[in-house]
Symmetry: C2
Amino acid sequence: MATKQHLLAHAEDLARRQGYDGFSFADLAAGAGIRKASVHHHFPTKAALSTELVELYAKRSMATLRNADGKASGARLAAVLALYRTALDGGRSQCLCVAFGAVIDRLPDVTRAAVAAYQADMLSWLEQVFSDAAQDGGISNPAAPAQEAAATFALLEGSQLMARAAADPSQFDLATAPLRARIQTGGTS
Amino acid sequence: MATKQHLLAHAEDLARRQGYDGFSFADLAAGAGIRKASVHHHFPTKAALSTELVELYAKRSMATLRNADGKASGARLAAVLALYRTALDGGRSQCLCVAFGAVIDRLPDVTRAAVAAYQADMLSWLEQVFSDAAQDGGISNPAAPAQEAAATFALLEGSQLMARAAADPSQFDLATAPLRARIQTGGTS
DNA sequence: GTCTATAGTTAGATAGAC
DNA sequence: GTCTATCTAACTATAGAC
């Protein structure tokens, strides 16, 4: 079981940095100190491995966000900003669904479905945040929640992409500054 | 020369949809009706081909934007929104630098530099738009131009990513709606 | 400018021994 | 659960004939 966890961790790291076509069973085998054939014992196909990767990533991400449930809308928006800032890892990495989303056409059907599900969950969670913001005033200038959720999700993914291409993680902070500025620290506006 | 143009066009299409590791000399050869070795006559290496691809893409994109130079800030912002909406091609494709940016670690050095240059040009152009907006009032609620430029670029790239992962191009419009709503059609506010 | 032929490497996946 | 061995296919790239 420890081997499987090690394989998953290494696979996630490689997949996030190099993309779906950028990691192989050989890479994972080398990382775990076993042979390629042994990796297939834990994950029959790359499709199965990738799907499990996305599902675990989604579960972990949503669990992190749900820790903030109950807090005011501004605090929850700050939480999702922190989640993506952390995932950037100083420019070393990015969200798994940025890496996989960019090559969505290349993914096995099951993996593509897992990416879409992750995205739908995120959007739904964000929509609730902006819906609550209209009540508690925790975020200034609120537009329609569905628009705000989509715009926020796109901004977070795009900011990671931009920061990494520029090899400058501070670009993430620059791009998200206007959104962060909308968080009302004083509670009800 | 016609063959080279055909190879470039096919390569761009594949690269944007499938990513750097998702297209091959074999694909290009098949598309042009020639052999793999013949493709190497036009482009010695994949690094050279990819770099030329990015440079041509950047040149074409910037030329499109410069057509709007001289117009008011709001019209120029609308132009860049249209550029990315068009590049999405109904969900069929995406900006070349979204595809390549997501696997920036995998790119040859020269190609990575070309992607970074494209991004720097775009950010510089956007910064001027928001800088002018502070004067002509063509965009409401203007924050610092460098922040606005970064946020806009990230939003455009992220919106493409999101729309394609959701297999729903209207998600691009949803995500960009709040930004579009800031364009003041009446000229000076 | 295109071809055949091929080198050298890597990929995902399987069979069957231990 | 890990191994050796192997398969088939794909990859980038080159040499040299036409």
